[in-house]
Symmetry: C2
DNA sequence: CCGCTACTGGACTGTCAAGTCCAGTAGCGG
DNA sequence: CCGCTACTGGACTTGACAGTCCAGTAGCGG
């Protein structure tokens, strides 16, 4: 079992390796990503790779954790405002805008790894599932706050609504990725908003 | 360019190869699938593989087309009844039931291939996108029939509703795959049904 | 029945890739 | 300043794999 680095220099090297690996995985896919390519991008030798990671699977596991943090971290500010209808709309607009910037490329990094590795590595799959759980928790917290402040009807099943919203988002992302068309995500998220809208309090 | 077989024997061999390849891809992922494994399962030698396919990418393209046909063909009977609320509910029950049989494993074969190959092979991505298009067309046809027979309100935006429904389904599948929990698909499809339900005619 | 072509068998080559091993050094604590 | 350990460099081995090439044959049409 590769030990966690004990020095600042070691921690920085490990971090460089994980970030480089995440980049290679984004470009080549998890299976197609080679350790040589990772080493070249991280400016790290094979010994360093094997100093910090038991094997390629161990490195990919670290990439999965980093991917969760990157995807969720990138939405932190939007999650903070997810407690109002306007915040919800801004969140969906930002997601679609981001896909427009990407030209519909890339899809969801977490979902990609589930499809590439999830059927053959339960540890990695579990890490990625926890990423989805955290994502859903953010949506759930926002919807709960909207109920609390009276923007959604009391008794709204926020657990179910949060789950349905995340599903719409994930589905919109895979369809966008296949079609290279961010409007696919727009339509999916509009569906989620329309469903949430049916629970809005009349004003 | 490998030619299409001209004899019945050749067609059967090519078919065996594609089916064997689809099985290896399901087990090992597209990138991890080796031609040796495909040959072993299809009882076909390397010469036969290269007689019918230019290279591995060419074979994977054929697998993508076969995957579309398999996934959509498997729902043919349900699609035929997708023109009523009851048919919609049966369709969603069947999809969830199928995931329960699988124990939440596998995910959507089309989406898996998009995530595994779609960022690096535009031909394959386009084939898979056409699979999603056909799937959405079936849903669209059902919703349109429901409007025509008065089960959904006139003026219902069936294009958008079909797109949103497919997104919910795809999202539910990826979340089910990550969590190994068919209830994730159940919740997603309930969201789709609830949204469609808002367009039902009062009776 | 024979010639020809599509189909078939499988050995072989070159390249890539994961993982191992040997050796050197930066930097920290005593 | 020195010893020690975490960190570093990179050569090397082994095995897997895609693709090429040579040769044989089943089966069909004339």
């Amino acid at each position: 079992m590769a030990l966690r680095p004990t020095t600042e220099r070691g921690r920085q090297t490990r971090q460089r390796i994980v970030e480089a690996a995440a980049g290679v995985v984004a470009d080549k896919g998890a299976v197609g990503a080679s350790l040589d390519e990772v080493g070249a991008r991280a400016t790290a030798s094979r010994s360093q790779l094997y100093h910090y990671f038991d094997d390629k699977a161990d490195l990919l596991r670290a990439v999965a954790e980093a991917t969760n943090d990157t995807v969720l971290g990138g939405q932190r500010d939007l999650f903070a405002e997810l407690d109002s209808w306007d915040g919800l709309v801004r969140w969906t607009d930002a997601l679609v805008g981001f896909q427009e910037q990407l030209g519909g490329r890339g899809g969801c990094p977490i979902a990609n790894l589930v499809a590439q590795l999830g059927e053959r590595d339960d540890d990695i799959r579990t890490v990625l599932a926890s990423g989805f759980d955290r994502w859903e928790d953010h949506i759930n917290a926002g919807l709960t706050a909207m109920v609390t402040r009276g923007e959604l009807l009391p008794g709204t099943d926020v657990d179910w609504l949060a789950a349905s919203t995340l599903a719409s988002l994930q589905g919109g992302l895979i369809l966008t990725q296949a079609r290279r068309d961010p409007q696919a995500l727009r339509r999916a998220l509009d569906g989620a908003l329309a469903l949430i809208g049916t629970y809005r309090r009349a004003s």
